[in-house]
């Protein structure tokens, strides 16, 4: 058979059950790099403030939350000064919401590529997941400035920060894979993503502490609340960086379970539908 002479591949309508073709992903790693570079280069082109927007957005949210929820509504913030209490949450939240909505609209936005050339489709929703890390890093510097101003030093738990980031990336990618592959077939998703995101924001402990849930609804509700991965991520950020509370391992553990489920089910759905992207795009 000639099949062992040159590399070859088969084309058919059969189902393939390999969730990720890592060999192929390695082959296309340069493409992912240039996709991410494109996103970062193009994002702030033709703006006056440029990269400053990466700081302005979360800072403005923090100011608004501090005035309304910290100042007017006087929401309890576990004894942490409200501005830094909310900024420590706004920081992961901004990354999460932007990369999630970026991933969701990515396939529709790159439809012209899907119909013209082959490459692993997963690279497209992966791109915002990586490119938004840039904004995250810039915005992170402001948190460091605020910690200096409020004279707060991080605890040893800061070493767990990468773990929290992985949890946050996994969740964003999981939801992103679900929604992007749904959005290309059902364009309704594009209209729903706006309120879906703000719903998720108010469900997350961004403007209030997670302890409020335990206080109002009891310990079981608090644990179940942890199934929403961003709860563990946000409370984890606050604990590790600001050190007012112990690390909420129970929340992080609960969140990890659902993040892993979201990630694998999202990957499965993406894999199942990717063969029709070019037909419905």
């Amino acid at each position: 058979m000639p099949s062992n002479i040159v590399p070859h591949f088969d084309i058919s309508a059969k189902k393939k059950w390999k969730l990720f073709d890592f060999k192929e992903l390695v082959k296309y790693k340069d493409l992912l790099y240039f996709f991410v570079l494109r996103d970062i280069t193009v994002l702030y082109k033709q703006t006056v403030l440029g990269m400053l927007w990466a700081i302005l957005n979360p800072v403005m949210s923090m100011v608004i939350f501090s005035v309304i929820f910290g100042g007017l509504a006087k929401i309890d913030s576990d004894g942490i000064p409200y501005p830094i209490f909310s900024y420590a949450a706004v920081l992961p939240w901004t990354y999460f919401s932007q990369s999630m909505s970026g991933a969701t609209s990515s396939l529709v936005g790159n439809a012209h590529l899907l119909t013209k050339v082959y490459f692993p489709r997963i690279l497209i929703p992966l791109t915002p997941i990586f490119s938004k890390l840039m904004d995250f890093t810039i915005a992170f510097s402001i948190l460091l400035v605020m910690m200096f101003v409020y004279n707060i030093s991080p605890t040893w738990n800061v070493l767990f920060l990468p773990l929290l980031m992985i949890l946050m990336i996994l969740t964003a990618l999981g939801i992103g894979m679900w929604l992007s592959s749904l959005a290309i077939q059902y364009r309704d998703v594009r209209f729903a993503i706006g309120f879906f995101t703000s719903m998720l924001m108010y469900a997350a402990p961004v403007v209030f502490p997670a302890s409020l849930v335990a206080e109002k609804f009891g310990e079981t509700a608090y644990l179940l609340y942890g199934l929403y991965p961003m709860v563990g991520v946000i409370e984890g950020f606050r604990s590790s960086l600001l050190g007012f509370n112990p690390m909420p391992w129970n929340l992080i553990g609960m969140g990890s379970i659902s993040a892993i489920i979201l990630f694998f089910s999202g990957a499965l759905h993406f894999k199942k539908t990717e063969k029709i992207f070019a037909d419905v795009a």
Partner: protein, 430 residues
């Protein structure tokens, strides 16, 4: 030892086509269908990716049906057929852009697709950034592009502007750079779709030469084009698709000439009888035909004279001025010219049969695909009494021309032979 590059076994692809929406004549019916429409929409959208029982359903359209063929390494295969014959669908399946509904294919070697010039080009980025982005999208690695970079820039001829944002480029510069990137790919198999339809004549010549040189290096090329002259010049073998089926396969000049003769029969004559003729309240079109001297060639060549013949029945009883008007378009949708019988036949007519002929002179038309896009009868210069679209379509083939050499299509919508005179000596200086 077998030398197969691609073997395709009964590849088929079905698409869902929209069925007509239901129309309701009662308010209750309209309301109930309005209430149900999310469910109906959902079912339609969901069906976009399921093809159960596609065979039996009337709302599926087979873009490709049971196409089997083999290509050897080093072969240059031309794929021809009318619009909608399934050419692009076949290429998309072989490039793994879309999956077949049934059937299978095996591809030996790396395959690169060039279905469009400039895929992934981003005008916000500089030329240099675009070389890397476009190159990796087409399947190259950064290392490969690094190695090829100077060659790409040289071929594109835009060295000076390589660090300028692509949005400041002219259209031609973008096309040249994009093609240079694509041309630098070094895969065993290249799939090329209609890319020669863009750019100026110089660019087209350069790209045909590039494809020819790829073929000479022993690369396997699949080439789709409406430019039959280019197909004949480049390809060794050709297949013809018609309504999704492979209907002919063989040596390129044979397949092309059979295709052309079938084309000629199908679209250069439309003849109807009185009952079925396209008709308006005032007139019927009985026949429209393109006629040319077919004793020497079985198809029309650039520079040949030809004529259009229109036969129609006029039902207007009272005497009036009648203008027979048509619009001739080329494959790029340019209007080549508008023909009008008022040019030299200012006569009054009334009810009865009429046959008009209109001569197109020699040494005037260029090669290409043309269509008689619109046909009108106009009464008293103001009222359109008959209108018909796409009355005829035809192909004018390339003809070897000593004056410009064997370089494919000459630039320009028409190719007239102009009357040149030379005066030399003392008198010329005055």
């Amino acid at each position: 030892m077998s030398n197969i590059a691609i073997s395709s076994d009964k590849l088929s692809k079905a698409y869902l086509i929209g069925l007509k929406d239901e129309v309701h004549d009662t308010l209750a019916g309209a309301i109930s269908s309005w209430m149900k429409f999310p469910f109906k929409n959902y079912r339609t959208l969901k069906r976009l990716n399921t093809f159960k029982n596609a065979e039996e359903r009337e709302d599926y359209f087979w873009a490709l049906k049971d196409v089997s063929f083999e290509i050897n390494h080093g072969e240059v295969l031309g794929i021809i057929g009318h619009n909608g014959a399934g050419k692009s669908t076949l290429l998309k399946i072989l490039c793994r852009i879309t999956e077949p509904t049934s059937g299978k294919a095996r591809v030996y070697g790396r395959i690169a697709s060039l279905l469009e010039v400039g895929t992934g080009f981003n005008v916000e980025l500089t030329g240099r950034e675009n070389v890397y982005l476009s190159g990796t999208i087409l399947g190259m690695t950064k290392k490969e592009i690094d190695k090829k970079f100077d060659e790409i820039i040289e071929f594109s001829g835009i060295e000076k502007f390589i660090d300028t944002q692509a949005k400041k480029y002219s259209n031609g510069m973008r096309i040249r750079l994009a093609f240079a990137i694509a041309a630098s790919i070094e895969t065993e198999i290249m799939v090329i779709d209609e890319v020669l339809n863009i750019g100026d004549a110089d660019f087209q010549r350069k790209s045909i030469a590039k494809i020819e040189s790829l073929a000479k290096q022993g690369r396997t090329v699949l080439f789709v084009s409406h430019n039959l002259s280019a197909i004949k010049a480049i390809c060794t073998r050709a297949i013809q698709l018609n309504h999704g089926k492979l209907i002919r396969e063989g040596e390129v000049s044979k397949v092309v000439s059979v295709y052309l003769s079938s084309f000629a029969k199908e679209h250069t004559v439309h003849k109807y009888d009185m009952e079925t003729a396209p008709s308006s309240e005032y007139a019927k079109l009985i026949k429209a035909e393109l006629k040319f001297d077919d004793t020497k060639n079985d198809h029309l060549k650039a520079g040949d004279p030809f004529e259009f013949e229109f036969v129609f029945y006029n039902m207007m009883k009272e005497e009036h001025i009648l203008d027979v008007v048509f619009q001739l378009k080329d494959e790029l949708d340019n209007i080549v010219f508008i023909g009008s019988s008022l040019d030299n036949n200012y006569v009054k007519v009334s009810e009865g049969y009429f046959k008009w002929t209109c001569k197109v002179p020699a040494d005037f038309m260029n090669q290409g695909s043309y269509s008689l896009h619109k046909f009108y009868l106009i009464k008293n210069k103001t009222d359109v009494i008959f209108e018909q679209r796409e009355v005829l379509s035809f192909e004018i083939m390339y003809s070897f021309d000593l004056r410009i050499g064997n370089v494919g299509r000459k630039e320009g919508i028409v190719k007239p032979k102009l009357d040149w005179n030379l005066l030399s000596g003392e008198n010329a200086g005055k």
